[in-house]
Structures are given as C-alpha cells and as structure tokens.
Subunit: 133 residues, 2 copies
DNA sequence: AAAAAACCTATTGACACGGTAGGTAAATGG
DNA sequence: CCATTTACCTACCGTGTCAATAGGTTTTTT
C-alpha cells in the first residue's frame, strides 16, 4: 500500500514540472493547487530535498524547484525515497535479516517475481509521462 | 506491503495441499511444519474458514482441509480475503468515498494501471503453481 | 470419561500513519 | 536597516494496524 507521502511527493513533482519557471515556487502555492495541507507537505518536501530530488531556497522569492529535467526522473526513485522501499514483502526489503527458511520457502519465487514486476513498472515510468499540457 | 496474514495464509494452503489425505489436518502439525505460532495461525485460519477457502472440523481427528482442488484456487482471492484489498492505493480500494479531485488527478491513470497489473498477476497464479512434489 | 481438536474473547506492546503547532533562520525588497 | 516572505527545525499527538499472546469453552471421537 503506497502511502500519502509517496503519492503527495509525486504530485509535488508534477506541480513543479508544470509550473516551471526561472525561479523558485513557494510551497504555499503548491499546497493551494494540490489542496493539501502546507504543514504536512513541509515534511514531505524536506525529505525530497535531502534525497536530492529537488532544491529549496529560503527567503523572499524562495521556494522549490526541480534540479533535473522531468524526463530524467523516474517514479520508482521518488517512491523508493519516500516509502523507504518498494518491496511489497518484508523478506525482500534490503536490510532485512535473511530468513532461515529462505532455501525451503515455496512462496519466495512468487514474491521475487512480483517484486521485479513492481520495480520494473515504476522504474519504467518517467515523471514526464505524467504531465499533459 | 503484504502482511504476514496474507503470506501465512498462502503457506497454510500449500501445506494443506501437500499433505492432503482423506481426513483433516490438525493445526498443530501445520504450525510445526511452517514454524509459525499455532496461536497466531488460529486467527488466520479462522478467517479462511469463514471466507470459504477451507473447512474445519472440531474434535479428535479434526483439523482443516481444502474444499477445492489446488488448481481451483488462485492466489489473488486468498490475498484479497486476508488483506481486505489488493489495491495498493487508497483511492482505488472499494468502499472508499470517491476523491473529489478524481477527474483532474494526473496520477490516477498510473495507479489504475498498476492496480490492474497487481490484480492480473495474483489472479493469474494458481495455488497449484506453488506446489512442487 | 478423557483426550484432542477447533473455536472464542480479550489484551498487549510496538510502531506507522497522517497530520498539527509553534518557533527559528535566511534572504529579499523597500 | 527593517519588515516580509519564505524555508527549515523540533516536538507532539490521536488513531489504527500489526503481530502476537493468554486463557478459556465447545465439539467430537475413542
């Protein structure tokens, strides 16, 4: 289940892409357009900055902007940053201690197959694919 | 993220399929083979009975058994029963009140596409596909 | 009657989700 | 220089789910 953090992050990215200009776009505007609490977006946007997806600038005239072209982002990296992992199964998330039943597990092949499916789907989608206008 | 409930349920089904006999298989045995707490399995198995996946019988010689052939179960229905929904996005889960931004949402098509992918994957897998022996 | 099994109700600790609140630092315009 | 605007930072909170555990009751067979 993909949480609001991941979903809102993508919407912020789309908003930034569509309202691109020379300068920065204040979060207040994004929150208004997306009809999401600005306070909550702050948390999300902060992670996006430290994760290297966007850049922020303080002060008057400040705000946020993309640091790459929309076609150079893929949805998978955005979701992975926000959700921690894209893996739908605990055993497959990196950093999980290896399951002792791994060798005998009859479901693991299916989960692995599914994991690859999910990964390929989201890493194959570019931010620019979501923009119409 | 698929929880232990869904994952254990599938393992119980596999266990039942592989140890099929004329009679019923006690949960104690399943728990031992699967190395999972019997107490916790009770909760899961109960839902599987009320959901119509398996049948249970009390008393000595009792236990659980499949009520269909392994090839007549698909993984999707098992997961959907245990997880409530297979939809990875809240907006798409049945019973969710319709999002007011639905018409304008630029991410919905992607979520829908993903939702279909997930659905097709799990509904296309049969229980019998997971059994080797 | 005893044993074995499912079945039932309640409780728990930990943690994540989805926010809210209030303040601090930085940059700009006048 | 000062007010405004903006990001940035820390803390908190209520609700719910997850993953179990505990202990008892009913049903069925031998």
């Amino acid at each position: 289940m993909i949480s609001t953090k991941g979903r809102y992050a993508i919407r912020v990215m789309i908003d930034l892409a569509e309202n691109q200009s020379d300068g920065y776009i204040p979060l207040k505007d994004i929150a208004a357009r997306q009809e999401v609490s600005k306070k909550y977006l702050e948390i999300i946007v902060k992670e996006m900055v430290t994760g290297g997806l966007i850049t922020g600038a303080s002060g008057k005239g400040g705000g946020y902007k993309l640091c790459r072209k929309p076609e150079d982002y893929n949805i998978g990296e955005i979701l992975e940053l926000m959700e921690g992992t894209l893996s739908p199964i605990a055993c497959l998330s990196s950093g999980t201690n290896e399951c002792p039943r791994r060798k005998a597990c009859q479901t693991l092949p299916m989960w692995t197959e599914f994991d690859n499916l999910v990964h390929d789907f989201f890493y194959g989608k570019k931010l620019s694919d979501l923009i119409h206008s």
